[in-house]
Symmetry: C2
Subunit: 359 residues, 2 copies
DNA sequence: GTGAAAGCGCTAACAA
DNA sequence: TTGTTAGCGCTTTCAC
């Protein structure tokens, strides 16, 4: 229930003009005598008038809302991306309606439908589904600009932003091989329902190939993208007859679980087993040992998604813009590097992967 | 820009009824012949009709949106609370507009004004401001139900939820004194602009008092609520002539910074200095040593806030409901306890503090 | 049980 | 430059 606040008619009346003039005076569109405009604005300020969104939306067909759909807002990557996006959108007069899908494709689709039905002007979608058909139909149906973020779906999106998943993992594998001489490297990943998971696994394979190492299916364990799975799959990897000397984790939770399992078993990291991780987090430099990861600027990435949406909102639907976010090595100690910083600021290495724009 | 989807008139026309009947058939309010109702609903489904929010809002004065204002959504506490709140609100047909204020009171006020102007039906506010006057004026002005969450502001709020800050910290201090025999305990906190910070500091003081320990101002360091400040203030604490043997941290970031500083200086935790922390996080059990903290059910707390808002939305504005969330010890190793789990599930101790409801 | 019509607050086309 | 007016999509009286 929304209660009485001053309406445009109240402002108009108090200023002794018509609502049309009041509207023009406040919006700046159309011509108004500067004297009148000032008077109307003064009155509006006195009355603490704010135009009622529903009226504007009904008339202009714009909600000034952008939907942001994420699998899990408690992931720092999405949270920081959201902050970056919000910052930019707010500057452009937009607000964010957030939907957390708990990684469930069914909820994602429900979120999509709920928002598409006139609640938002555009959508930033971090899909956790592998199936783009729902998105495609909604994009067509509602002619709604959708920016795909983190995970790509085939044939959809007014813009797409992805991390350099494959190149990033190759960077990690390369570091393990070239700097530390590992020859048998394991991979504990999540089941790849979406592109980013698949690309990371592909990066692992390509990394091995590039360094002339044999790809052994037994060294790859895929489960959920959770701490618990990280623990379990790492345990499974340790049972191997011919054990690995290093493990690559494509996400923070898996690495946390893996590290916990290794510690529980008394396996020394990085002396007995080295580990590296795709995601950086606040805690990563403070773990024991500090985690070697890939660094990126989460907030900027979110801001970029926001810019893409804003662009799609004003421009004709041209070619979808495809951006790959490059990754950089943040070398710490879990890879075996000796005297790297234990502090917070990621010690960013000199290698970098990915390129600014593809397509 | 929102594009053409079917309107209620389209549904009505296709079903051969008036818009009024179509509206009644779909909403279930008013009487419609069951045959007619079924026909209309079938047609609506065929057309994939979704009522356009702005029209409903304009007419009913309800947006079915709840604003959620947080200082920092990348904090897992707020993120999980949001998830809990969203879950409950969605079930009641509401969505969430999120505003992250980056801990800036000016942004908080801007968020408040932006949302109050007809964009939301109610507000869940995690304030980072100590001043309730802006909130009070908005609450009055717009007659908007506001649930205060985590931080309390004087004389405002249709409902208030706080953690048992004081009792929780006392639990931590009590554990350090009773179980581990510490007599000189430091506190590295944030500058208390809001109630929860002040209550935690008060809990520290009360904890000392209860155990007959002298309160020494020199053992208390207050800075920002950040990792960097945790590092700096911990360093300052270590410079003391008469050093402390344990440190209490009232939030996760401060503890992370503190732990990092201690490690950098080669101070062994918990042998030389024991530490405990108010906040639990995913990483806490995986740090070295695993952090002894207070456990709580973040999602449930968010769901509770949502319930309060929903209640305020339907009921007359009765007495504001005041709830304190009790805290429990999750004993790990940073306090000096020996063989506690290193794994993920918090090893919840038997003590608990706080009570279900105050007022 | 159903339809006609009014009106929520706002903007924009048109007239003056 | 300003006012009059229509109408966005929906719900809800009020007649029938």
């Amino acid at each position: 229930m929304i209660a009485a606040h001053p309406r445009l008619t109240d402002v108009a009346q108090a200023a002794g003009v018509s609502v049309a003039t009041a509207s023009r005076a406040l919006s700046g569109r159309g011509s108004v005598a500067s004297e009148t405009r000032d008077r109307v604005r003064r009155v509006a300020a006195d009355l603490d008038f704010h135009p009622w969104a529903a009226g504007q939306t009904l008339r202009t067909r714009s909600t000034r809302m952008i939907g942001f759909i994420v699998p899990d807002i408690s992931s720092t990557f999405y949270a920081n991306a959201l902050k970056g996006a919000q910052h930019r959108l707010q500057a452009a007069g937009y607000q964010i309606t957030l939907m957390d899908t708990d990684e469930r494709p069914s909820r994602e689709e429900a979120a999509l439908r709920a928002l598409a039905a006139g609640r938002v002007d555009g959508l930033i979608l971090c899909s956790s589904s592998g199936d783009g058909s729902a998105v495609r139909s909604i994009e067509r149906r509602f002619q709604l600009p959708i920016v795909l973020f983190d995970n790509i779906l085939e044939g959809v999106g007014a813009g797409r932003i992805t991390l350099a998943n494959e190149a990033g993992i190759q960077l990690l594998v390369g570091h393990l091989v070239e700097v530390h001489g590992h020859r048998r490297i394991g991979y504990v990943g999540g089941i790849e329902s979406e592109t980013s998971g698949a690309e990371r696994l592909a990066g692992y394979q390509a990394g091995l190939r590039r360094h002339g190492l044999r790809y052994d299916e037994g060294c790859v364990r895929l489960g959920d993208w959770t701490v618990a799975a990280g623990r379990g799959e790492t345990a499974a990897l340790l049972e191997l007859d011919d054990p690995v000397s290093a493990i690559v984790y494509p996400c923070a939770d898996l690495a946390l679980g893996g590290l916990s399992e290794l510690r529980a078993r008394g396996v020394s990291v990085p002396d007995e087993i080295a580990i590296v991780c795709f995601d950086d987090t606040d805690a990563a430099p403070l773990l024991d040992p500090p985690l070697t990861v890939l660094a990126r600027r989460d907030r900027d990435i979110g801001a970029l998604a926001a810019s893409m949406i804003l662009r799609a909102l004003v421009e004709e639907p041209g070619e979808p813009m495809d951006v790959r976010i490059p990754m950089e090595l943040a070398v710490r100690r879990s890879c075996g590097c000796g005297q790297a910083t234990t502090g917070g600021g990621p010690a960013v290495g000199s290698h970098s992967a990915g390129h600014g724009r593809a397509d």
